[in-house]
């Protein structure tokens, strides 16, 4: 089911109430994407599965702390999971890969539009902003700055690693990221 149709907030409420079926529905809905995100960061399948396991246990245990005032329930789930993945990096000897085309393709809406499935079209109809707005805004950034943001978010690289990868001073990378965030925030409003 498309993320913009699935009701994450209600699912978390049911988890908080001790409804295990709700957690398993969330697993069906989100585990493939969570595993994808975590594996991209850790580059180690068994470790990635450990993290996704731990994430679901932690979602179960902490669901009671989520309430709608905290904003996006899906964001809450990913923040929790990505934090576990970033903490687990110390167990992973991953390689730092330079794949600019791959990352930039993720922001290419043209490419995505050719691959629309029925439910994604439906999702776009319901929420025209959600699917495309961030990528649109990212595409207003200079390619190198966009890459900094993507390496950080998609690959989980540190600023040091990005600086080495792009052969730029650390201060420059830091500054680019901060300015990019400000530009994105303005664009998203």
């Amino acid at each position: 089911m498309s993320p913009s149709i699935f009701d994450y907030e209600t699912t978390l409420k049911h988890c908080a109430a001790g409804n295990r079926r709700a957690l398993m529905q969330l697993y069906e809905q989100e585990a493939p994407r969570l595993l994808t995100v975590v594996l991209r960061i850790l580059q180690n399948r068994p470790l990635a599965e450990d993290v996704v396991h731990d994430a679901f246990i932690k979602i179960w245990q902490n669901a009671q702390h989520y309430h709608s005032d905290l904003g996006s329930a899906r964001g809450w789930i990913y923040t929790l999971t990505r934090n576990l993945a970033l903490n687990a990096l110390k167990y992973s000897n991953r390689q730092i890969l330079f794949e600019p085309e791959f990352l930039l393709d993720l922001c290419d809406n043209q490419l995505q539009e050719n691959e629309h499935h029925a439910d994604e079209v439906e999702a776009l109809a319901q929420d025209p902003m959600a699917q495309t707005s961030l990528t649109n805004c990212l595409n207003h950034l200079e390619p190198e700055r966009k890459l900094c943001v993507l390496h950080a978010y998609v690959d989980g690289y540190t600023q040091d690693e990005i600086a080495t990868l792009l052969d730029k001073p650390l201060g420059t990378v830091k500054s680019w990221i901060k300015r990019s965030l400000n530009a994105l925030k303005e664009c998203l409003q």
């Binding site: 994407r33 991209r40 246990i57 899906r74 978010y153 998609v154 201060g171 400000n182």
Partner: protein
């Protein structure tokens, strides 16, 4: 001048607004000090948490475009088993033998991988105590004898030090102290490792002790403020557990 270019490109002109910090937190680009400071504020501020969740929800639209993997069926079964085990300690009878309790603790299972289960077990505390818990080689969880509530964790690191870390706020009655003891198989009597002060992590130098062994007993007893007068535990046991060597 390149020097000048670099200077003008530094952070001076980009103030750290909360929204910007929240974005950096989501990207994972804060350095350790900045991250800990931000997390400390985060736990207190629903408004900051909302900013974080909003940024996350925006950024996740990028990774949604990664080709999704199929999540293996055994993983969901494993999650269900862990949930079963989480339910277990509360239901287990107090008369159960210690060994079966230790075997049923969810913590031990996950430790087989990469110590990840610690992150689950300490779900809430993770972000504050995680730095001191990196790569333990010996670990024990001390629980209350009556209801098996975990109260302390013992861990060692490369630093030749053993740490006794409280998992929750502890109450020590006026004029009393908690004394920390250990006894390995084959020892005649427990050895005192020191007195616990409120809210503090007790550190014990390992070179004063024989090597820690599997199944070594650790306990905390309630004693006089200056410690047990006999050099042996005299007061009631408040927490008890056995050590596990991690490979």
């Amino acid at each position: 001048m390149s020097q000048h270019t670099n200077l003008s490109d530094t952070n001076l002109d980009t103030p750290d607004t909360d929204s910007n910090l929240a974005g950096q937190y989501v990207l994972g680009t804060l350095d350790k000090t900045e991250r800990l400071a931000f997390e400390a504020r985060l736990t207190e501020s629903p408004a900051l948490q909302k900013m974080v969740n909003q940024w996350q929800n925006h950024f996740v639209s990028i990774t949604d475009k990664l080709p999704p993997l199929s999540a293996p069926q055994p993983l969901s079964a494993r999650i269900e088993r862990s949930l079963d085990e989480l339910d277990q300690p509360a239901k287990s009878k107090p008369t159960k033998e210690k060994t079966s309790f230790w075997q049923s603790l969810p913590i031990w299972r996950g430790l087989t991988g990469a110590g990840m289960a610690l992150a689950v077990f300490f779900a809430v505390q993770l972000q504050t105590i995680e730095p001191t818990l990196s790569e333990p080689t010996y670990i024990a969880v001390l629980v209350a004898p009556e209801d098996k509530t975990p109260g302390w964790v013992i861990q060692t690191s490369q630093s030749n030090q053993m740490q006794l870390v409280p998992l929750a706020a502890i109450e020590i009655p006026e004029g009393k102290a908690l004394q920390f003891w250990t006894k390995a198989d084959g020892w005649d009597a427990p050895v005192s490792l020191g007195l616990v002060k409120k809210g503090e992590t007790l550190r014990v130098a390992l070179d004063k002790l024989p090597p820690l062994t599997e199944n070594q007993l650790f306990e905390l007893t309630l004693e006089q403020e200056t410690g047990s007068p006999t050099g042996r535990p005299t007061g009631p046991i408040t927490s008890i557990g056995r050590g596990v060597i991690m490979l």
